[in-house]
Amino acid sequence: MIIFRIAWRNIWRHKVRSSIVMFAVTVGLFGGLASTAIMKGMVMDMVKNNIENEVSDIQIHNPKYPANNEIRYVIQNSSQVMDSIKKVDGVKAVCERTKIQGMASTASKATGVIVIGVEPELEKKVTGIYRCLTDSAGTYFASKHRNRMLISEKLAKELKVKIRSKVVITFQDFDGNLTGASFKVEGIFKTQNDLFDKQNVFVRKSDLDRILDMPPNSAHEIAILLNSNDETYTVLPVIKKMFPQYLIEGWFDINPYLEMSTSMTKYMLLIFMSIIMLALGFVIVNTMLMVVLERTRELGMVMAIGMNKKKVFKMIFYETSILGSVGALLGIVVSALFAWYFGNNGLDITSFSKGFETFGYSTVIHPILETSDYIEVIVMVFFTGLIASIFPTIRALKMKPEEAIRE
């Protein structure tokens, strides 16, 4: 206890210097934690959006379909398949789609697109595109008329169309004949993923099936939404067992980038903090070496009268730890407040985020910090203190007490 008392009071012998070191630790930790929180928030938000709007938790295809998206590789008896999937534990909603490649053209331009035929009421329960309508005049397949389509803002601009404009879509039908139809734009949407927006247009499945001459009760894709994304790992094998003849994939199979991003967030803190801790470690070691040098006589004296090596190390370790942990505590508190406030209110980075959306990131970030992050940081601070104590201790113990105290 006396050793701790000495260490604590020693810290305040150089108020300005110690405060600067502590402040550096605070800033360093806040920097590491806040950037981790932002990155995590961005990535998890991107993953969530991606799953919600695009890939869903699980997708089912004819095993031959994904290679070339050929129209003839369908899932047969799709409504029965959907019915039995609905009964699986953890499944929230199921929908089916017809999905083919085509060419969307207007008077001014033509571009290749993926045409997704959806059943609006089922689709709404699985994906969130209906929430992404931008033009207030637009609706999500509310019209009773045939051949309505949803197009993204991006594509609408490119094709120079507005609500109620007509777009001609051409494609090969089920028998390989070139066919096409004219669709009226009913709604304009915008997700956070520009690439997705540029590629996909939505029409009613019933319209598309009729034009394509699809066999009845069939679909190219069945999408499943689960109660939570994490359940994918447990539900996926169940469904695989039910339909061994089909290709059944989780969101991580469909878009490996999502899984990579998620697992990357786990190392983000470690990487950020390691770099920051290394820098802070140097600052602390340097300060403590200065301390040891300044107190040569004092250290020599206490060693002369009987303070052993272990206690000398303890004293130096306490001092580095106080320097580190006071700053760390502040840094953690500030970071927690940051994550809490912006986690709830969102951090709007629109002004300097040009290009983010291209990669599917939101411009309003909700930073995330988990308990494990704080624990990780505390452990790192502790070990940094421990390691940073070794060098100054070695320096202190090298002193011969008799030389240190000689006048």
Binding site: M301, V302, A304, I305, K400
Partner: protein, 247 residues
């Protein structure tokens, strides 16, 4: 009347016949790190008995500090042996030596004795703290010592606000607190004025009598030498006289 005799037993009166606690045989210390080799201690044989109040005297550079460092286990001799209570301390590892110093020897240095961030009381009980003595024992002992050395009431004052004499008294209290076998004081009065010097010597002598603790101190101050019961004079690392002062 003052009479001086050649030392046979350095003790007189009721102290006579006390056991030898320090024995030095063929002690040499040569510094070779310097350009010219310095024979700081050049063949010393001495013994000290329990309860002595002894001054090591001689001009600056004669080897007083070096000698005290040898018998205090702060430095190792080039050759020769130092026995404390019959144990050869030159065989100790540096860690064992630190523990030995903690539990057997009290030190008072010329300056920089105290830890500046600790109060007078905390400084005085520091060694007892390192030894892990219980608080009640420490409190009792420090109160008793502060009374004896005349600084009661200064317990909570930091060293920087004590006079030089008061600081040295706290250092003596610390050295004495854990009742070591002997106390080594290297020029403890060098930085003190004559009044403070006399007071410190009074206190040391009083404690020597009351607690029967051995004091060995170095000095080149006449007034201090006069107070000693045994005077060992060094010159160029050798003992040139060793006398017992009889009253």
């Amino acid at each position: 009347m003052k009479k001086e005799t050649k030392a046979s037993s350095p003790l007189r009166g009721d102290k006579r016949g006390a056991p030898v606690i320090i024995e030095v045989r063929g002690l040499h210390k040569t510094y070779t790190e310097t350009e010219v080799e310095v024979k700081a201690i050049n063949g010393i044989d001495l013994s000290f008995e329990e309860g002595e109040f002894t001054a090591i005297v001689g001009p600056s550079g004669c080897g007083k500090t070096t000698f005290l460092n040898m018998i205090g286990g702060l430095d190792v001799p080039t050759s020769g042996k130092v026995f404390i209570n019959g144990t050869d301390i030159s065989t100790f590892s540096s860690s064992k030596m630190i523990d030995f110093r903690l539990n057997n020897i009290g030190f008072v240095f010329q300056a920089y004795n105290l830890i500046p961030v600790l109060t007078a009381k905390e400084n005085a009980e520091f060694i007892m703290q390192l030894q892990g003595r219980p608080k009640a024992e420490r409190d009792k002992r420090i109160a008793e010592l502060f009374e004896a050395i005349g600084i009661a009431g200064k317990e909570n004052i930091k060293p920087s606000r004590l006079s030089g004499g008061q600081q040295q008294r706290v250092a003596v209290a610390r050295a004495l607190a854990s009742k070591p076998k002997f106390i080594l004081a290297d020029e403890p009065t060098a930085n003190l004025d004559s009044k403070a010097t006399a007071e410190l010597l009074d206190i040391m002598h009083e404690l020597n009598r009351q607690e029967k603790v051995t004091f060995i101190f170095s000095t080149h101050d006449k007034r201090v030498i006069e107070r000693a019961e045994r005077i060992i004079t060094l010159e160029d690392g050798k003992v040139v006289s060793d006398i017992i002062v009889n009253i």
